[in-house]
């Protein structure tokens, strides 16, 4: 479903991805690991279409759509979801209002039936429960005054409702305590399905204790330098990234 071929990308004109290949099939969970500055987050942002993240060569195809040709909202409507590393606050716009606008746009584009407000509220409450967020959070401004952990859980809550075709999680584990990490992992695991691909971008192996990936890739200097199964993550945990990149690294 996701085919990335020789992808080159630049951020504000600086080359970050330098020929990346990756194939994600429906039902698979991929983990992208790598040292700081290797391009992990860039990959997630390039795929989602953030401003100033520019594809300079190669291709990323999602279900036949060339992502480079789509606006960010069109990518979302095509089923791409990015759980942000640092979710931004939108004061005064309630979570519920935000979800309604998002779900309306995406479900309409995907030809799915529209949820009336009763259905939406019920589903939203269920999703909150799944990630251990009080339903009161639906009334609050998007991420407004949320703690770091609440923001991350709020992202997963949205993801559960959006039912994406391809879910990208950018360092979702960073800043989470062990309980929150398990909650988030449960949420993500509940989304595992033969219809859906999941890509986890993470620096640490510990998230992978709870969300067991089918494939692990190590990214360094804008390229995937090693791919393997879930054991690769454990090996990295023991040996550090320096083992593969040939540099000293304090993972």
């Amino acid at each position: 479903m996701l085919e990335i071929r020789d992808l080159h990308a630049a951020v504000n004109g600086k080359a970050i991805l330098k020929g990346l290949d990756l194939t994600v099939n429906p039902g698979e969970v991929h983990a992208i690991m790598g040292p700081n500055g290797s391009g992990k987050s860039t990959l997630a942002n390039v795929l989602a279409g953030r401003d100033n993240y520019e594809i300079t060569g190669g291709q990323a195809i999602l279900d036949g759509h060339d992502l480079a040709e789509l606006e960010p909202e069109e990518r979302a409507q095509a089923g791409l979801f990015l759980a942000f590393q640092y979710p931004v606050e939108i004061p005064g716009v309630s979570n519920m209002e935000f979800l309604k606008a998002a779900l309306e746009a995406v479900r309409k584009a995907q030809g799915k039936e529209e949820w009336d407000s009763v259905t939406l509220l019920r589903k939203a409450r269920e999703a909150c429960k799944q990630v251990n967020l009080d339903a009161q959070f639906l009334k609050r401004g998007v991420n407004e005054g949320f703690s770091g952990g609440e923001k991350k859980r709020n992202e997963i809550m949205q993801m559960l409702l959006m039912e994406p075709r391809l879910a990208l999680l950018d360092e979702t584990d960073s800043g989470l305590d062990i309980d929150a990490l398990q909650t988030v992992a449960r949420g993500v695991n509940s989304l595992r399905s033969p219809e859906r691909g999941i890509v986890l971008v993470t620096h640490y192996q510990r998230l992978l204790d709870y969300i067991v990936p089918d494939h692990v890739h190590v990214l360094s200097d804008g390229r995937i330098i090693k791919s393997g199964g879930k054991e690769l993550a454990l090996e990295l945990e023991q040996k550090g990234y320096g083992w593969l990149t040939g540099e000293e690294e304090s993972a």
Binding site: A48, G49, R50, D51, E71, P72, E73, R75, A76, Q77, F81, L82, F84, P87, V88, E89, I90, P91, G92, V93, E97, F98, A101, A102, A105, V106, A109, G141, V142, Q158, M162
Partner: protein
Amino acid sequence: MSSQAELDKVIRSEYEAGFTTLVESDTLPPGLSEDVIRFISAKKGEPEWLLEWRLEAYRKWREMPEPEWAHLHYPKVDYDAISYYSAPKSMEDRPKSLDEVDPELLDTYKKLGIPLHEQEMLAGVAVDAVFDSVSIGTTFKEKLGEAGVIFCSISEAVQEHPELVRKYLGSVVPKSDNFFAGLNSAVFTDGSFVYIPKGVRCPMELSTYFRINEANTGQFERTLIVADEGSYVSYLEGCTAPQRDENQLHAAVVELVALPGAEIKYSTVQNWYPGDENGKGGIYNFVTKRGVAHDNAKISWTQVETGSAITWKYPSVVLRGDNAVGEFYSVALTRHAQQADTGTKMIHLGKNTKSTIVSKGISAGKSSNAYRGLVRMGPRAENARNFTQCDSLLLGDRCGAHTFPYIESKHPSATVEHEATTSKVSDDQLFLCRQRGIDPEKAISMIVNGFCKEVFKELPMEFAVEAGKLLEVSLEGAVG
């Protein structure tokens, strides 16, 4: 697409209410003189005292300089090029009911989304619609009559309730108060009059829609609201105007009198033609709005301003009595070449008086948006308190926001707090919305609406919805 490009797209939308009604008008030739004032007064069959009042205002106005202190730039208005009276011809004989009203006029309101017929049936909003200078329809009179509430045009009030008009007209905004109020006092043509008797809670929200229609016709409304002791009224005012090439002057005066224990809530949604991208053809809006709150009385101004090329407007409260409360909630949106210099004055005279100011300024395009507020604590204002919050939101990088707070305190126990912030709709916020499938236009409108939420929640329900939509339309047909 970059976010600047998105913004530009949204900002370039065309004014939705830009159309002209083809109604013949009985219009006076341009120019202002004592004879013109006599004509207006005679045309309206006014008593001698009112004519004298107007003439006195005119003589004082001629001596007054036009104010230049505002953060506004516009060519000098030629007051001799303006026509000071215009009434739709079909109104010579006032219609007895809406059925007798020129269908074209009614259609105009329909285009603006103000179907009078439907409004009559809709939940409790009485409409006194002003088309140019003459009222064309007043509804719900009977129900209001039962409660003893007087709600009519000011011309009618002059005839039917001269004692009230004579007592309160100019009591809050004296005729020589300022240049524009002076002009208004001399030539005002119509507007609304409200009187709520002692202890009465007005059974419905009162509403007036204004519309400027004649080319080169200044419109000078005069509104007077008197809430007698212990009474309550909520008054809604909404405006929009058709597209024009010449600038149109508007200089209204609104006076509120809240007698002891009374409460007046005055809400405005203003959507006059702001001019094209270069400001050409927009309305010049110079308004004087002021209320006097006596002991234990409360006056609350809520305004949503999206229109006009030039806005000069400072709804104010004189907290004359002890324990009086004044509030000002404002959203001012400027785009294209619009300029707004708006804010409020809270004049604390009584003890334990309290005022709250929440101002939200949104600037887009190459517009300029200034907040100007005065908080004055008088020598008797023991334990008076003010809280001011002033937030500016910038869309794009070619607009400007300015804050001019003035604080004067003559009493040591008075407390004045002022908070101000300036922020931009960030690329990150926009990207979060777009990543969730929301198009940029809708995203910007959502973010801006969120920014204004504190003010919108002060508006009556139907009006809040309307205001949200208006913002969306302004940012959309305008910003997208």
